[in-house]
Point group: C2
Chain length 596, copies 2
Amino acid sequence: MTYSAPVAETVFFLEHCTGLKKLASSGAVADLSEDVVRSVLEEAGKFAAEVLAPMNRIGDLEGAHFANGKVTMPKGFVEAYRAWAGAGWSAVSAPQQWGGQGLPVMLNASCIEYWTSACMAFAVGPMVSMAAIEAFATHGTDALKRLYLEKIVTGEWMATMQLTEPQAGTDLSLLRTKATRQKDGAYRLQGTKIFITYGEHDMTGNIIHFVLARLPDAPPGNKGISLFLVPKFLVKNDGTLGPRNDVRCASIEHKMGIHASPTCVMVYGDNEGALGYLIGEENKGLACMFTMMNNARLAVGVQGVGIAERATQQALNFARERKQGRAQGSGDSASPIIAHPDVKRMLMTMRALTNASRAICLKNADAIDRAHHATDEGDRYVAQEEANLLTPISKAFSSDAGIEVSSLGIQVHGGMGYIEETGAAQHYRDARIAAIYEGTNGIQAMDLVTRKIGQSEGKTMERMLAGYRETARRLATLKDAAFGAIAPRLSEAIDALERANVHLRTALDKKPNDALAGATPFARLFGLVAGAVYLAEAAQASRLSMATGNDDPAHLARIATARFFAENLLPQAGGLERIVIAGAESVMQSDFVLSA
Amino acid sequence: MTYSAPVAETVFFLEHCTGLKKLASSGAVADLSEDVVRSVLEEAGKFAAEVLAPMNRIGDLEGAHFANGKVTMPKGFVEAYRAWAGAGWSAVSAPQQWGGQGLPVMLNASCIEYWTSACMAFAVGPMVSMAAIEAFATHGTDALKRLYLEKIVTGEWMATMQLTEPQAGTDLSLLRTKATRQKDGAYRLQGTKIFITYGEHDMTGNIIHFVLARLPDAPPGNKGISLFLVPKFLVKNDGTLGPRNDVRCASIEHKMGIHASPTCVMVYGDNEGALGYLIGEENKGLACMFTMMNNARLAVGVQGVGIAERATQQALNFARERKQGRAQGSGDSASPIIAHPDVKRMLMTMRALTNASRAICLKNADAIDRAHHATDEGDRYVAQEEANLLTPISKAFSSDAGIEVSSLGIQVHGGMGYIEETGAAQHYRDARIAAIYEGTNGIQAMDLVTRKIGQSEGKTMERMLAGYRETARRLATLKDAAFGAIAPRLSEAIDALERANVHLRTALDKKPNDALAGATPFARLFGLVAGAVYLAEAAQASRLSMATGNDDPAHLARIATARFFAENLLPQAGGLERIVIAGAESVMQSDFVLSA
């Protein structure tokens, strides 16, 4: 159950397949260099492996504990958090103006992968804080930021995102928490929030809640929602803590996984109402919250990568040691199970899905960084739309990969995988939440189809497809047997994605329910193509490196992984296209089945 | 979390798509009639829903409890078991000669589905007993049977199957438990067995273990394994209990699911060795055990169906009540989520996979029944090979379906699905074991490819394919829009399966590792085709019934389910064929990846 962060793999991808080098040479990010990137990732990997990874099973067994309104974290979590924040890990990509290091989102995303691999239930808390930082920095007033932001950035305090209510999950228009204006410009909040990640805990001296609520005169629906900052302890103007605010944790949930992550029911306004401060404008809270959510959605995708990486490493270790059966062509004694073709297939599927998901998430983070830092405004706009397009893929494909890979991890272990002590089962239980929170994967697919593929009249999607074709075209010119059928499989799959895209854009106008019915297989198709293309880019970079005499065996591994993905996972593309194009009618004509 | 057994659906399939009617009219099974079938299933469904289903969550929360060598079952389990055995449910398809009812395996398989839907952790214990009954009845001596068999058949005692040891799981050739001949013809056993389902408990006064062990002079490997009956309490010749045998439960496992099913470490021979009695011949124990295992493998497939059915019912209920968002074309208020196309897709996938898995398992059971009861010896032989061919599909496809469907069940619930109180998570945790025990699904796929498709020089497989083609051909003659593209999709998918089959049979000779590397996608392909064909047969039977004026809406539901399966799941067939045929090389050339 040891974990080793894949630093070399991350660095290779960032250097060869993203805009990192260009960003570093542009000077837009101070002190960014290859050395900085490598040393940040090495230190993060070390912290993850040495401090966080050993807590993972303790956290699962003990869980967060609730009593009398207080949440006690499992043994070691408070100390680990303080060491983590003390080392500056909460501030990696936060604004320098507010105490952050201002490093690229790519780098922070990789760190989040490592924290998650080591201990997902720990990682999810800071991840929420980071998402809140971005929204707060973008939409908060300077007065509020001076009091709160730096302490969140440095990790002295943590932040929460509070959207969900019992009747309002996916559909925020239904939310009821009330905010009432006070004479001094502040607000008082009353209501109940559920499923609040790290809503209460003993890791920090204060917790800053970002809460969606509705003003008494707000318009109904999504256009009447405002965002408020509500501290657990009120903060005086000199920054010291005042009295407790009128908000409390009423209970925590018993969940299938991430037991150490307290999922809280939060009650506002037992007495006069919790004091809150407006973020952004009244009734425009949803737009502010979406700033958080896009950040958080990529981060949840990265969680999928993290769990998948951990499960893959564990399964590989087991498969090398466990001996059962005799592989073809081996001697008389039992072979390590890694020698059996069916086990190889499972392990290669795990590795390929993990690396493809990482590649998608890093490409997404790269687009976000370009949207922030590109010198040309047009480039920034294009990059932002590219990031918007990739976000639902990062979230849905990678969280699904976390589930699939951790399930294969159990399978590789056989009976041992079902025994909790082994740890494979915990990954499977932990991974499952990532397909649900920050917008279920179905919501991601609908977001992709209804909002993202149509950006700029479809041009962003077309540009993406053209880039994919360019990769396929370059690969087709290679005469290298190690690449197998990557080029033709890629080319066919891109065709399939393009036809499905055209179909959906037409259907959106004429038969919107058919488009919605095709959303999930379309998102899967897109994810498979994107993963295959990005792995192929890395493989090609490896080949170029080999041509210069670099004999790192990781190069051959990258080529073999890309090939496996293209020949064993990407062939699903054709079927998915057909499902998108021809499957919707039987989805919609299902009333006789579903009403039975 | 209520459960309602799908009796009407079972009866329809048995009557229209299996040999049940023919079997009843042949007189080979005494007292078999449509009324008997319906009333057995209705009573089973009632017992499952009323007695077992309410225990499911209690069993999950309490689990089986181990202390001082004893296992205490969760609250209510002992009483429920006694009521269950008292009503004759352990004896449904057991031999009449030994107190059984001698009813078809089809009927018992359906009952096992209901027990599993209601409470999988309960159902798995009796399921093991039933498998043991078959092996014991086939291979045991009359003297042993007189003492033990009827009490196992009536459920007064339960039985276990004991194969696995720490170093010998999939690979039984490595097992080390020793058996030493005694002067009186009995044996003494020493060794340790692990992962023993219901190895110890307080539900019955005695437990009869069927244990694989090795004689001192046995040849090495699989040809030196013998099967022994080892009672927990020795049994005197008058049938009363004697002293405790030298076997004990040393501990039970902490598993991810089926918490109420005690998974035991069993220790033989703390003192003089446990007294055991040979079943079958010395060194031929594996063949006897395979009698059990084929029975048990079908039953594990049926477990997948049971969990899938329960998860589907629960998700449907939730989706009808939970209101979020407005579906296209609905009014101003929030719609039940079942109205959203993406949720419809999830629910239809659940229903279609569940019904397809059930159909595969019932066709498999039908083949077993024909192998037992057909009047012509040649027919029995053919039926047995058909059963052999379908067994790995029943086991692997249906247990995978249990996992996929229970995962979708969580997804339909959104955040609530991850909270243990909802129950959806338990199904997901419980379902996961079925892909592992009784031979992992990878082992099933290899069994299919290396032993089953080549039976009778491939003629059994060809006959199966010809039958599938006949179904597709009949459907192609229908001019009924409700059938959508079932016929063309079926026809293409059967082509794909046939080509993959031909490829594998050639590869087995020339490049056996390539065949093994393609085993899992081939098994999936076979399962998809079989499921689609059998759902289509049911749909066609429904159409015929409608043509006679029967206006049961279940007919339209069957047609819509078959169509959904053909148009939204079966299109994966083409990609799977390609993976089987062209994917193996990149599986086998993976050393640079897997050694990294």
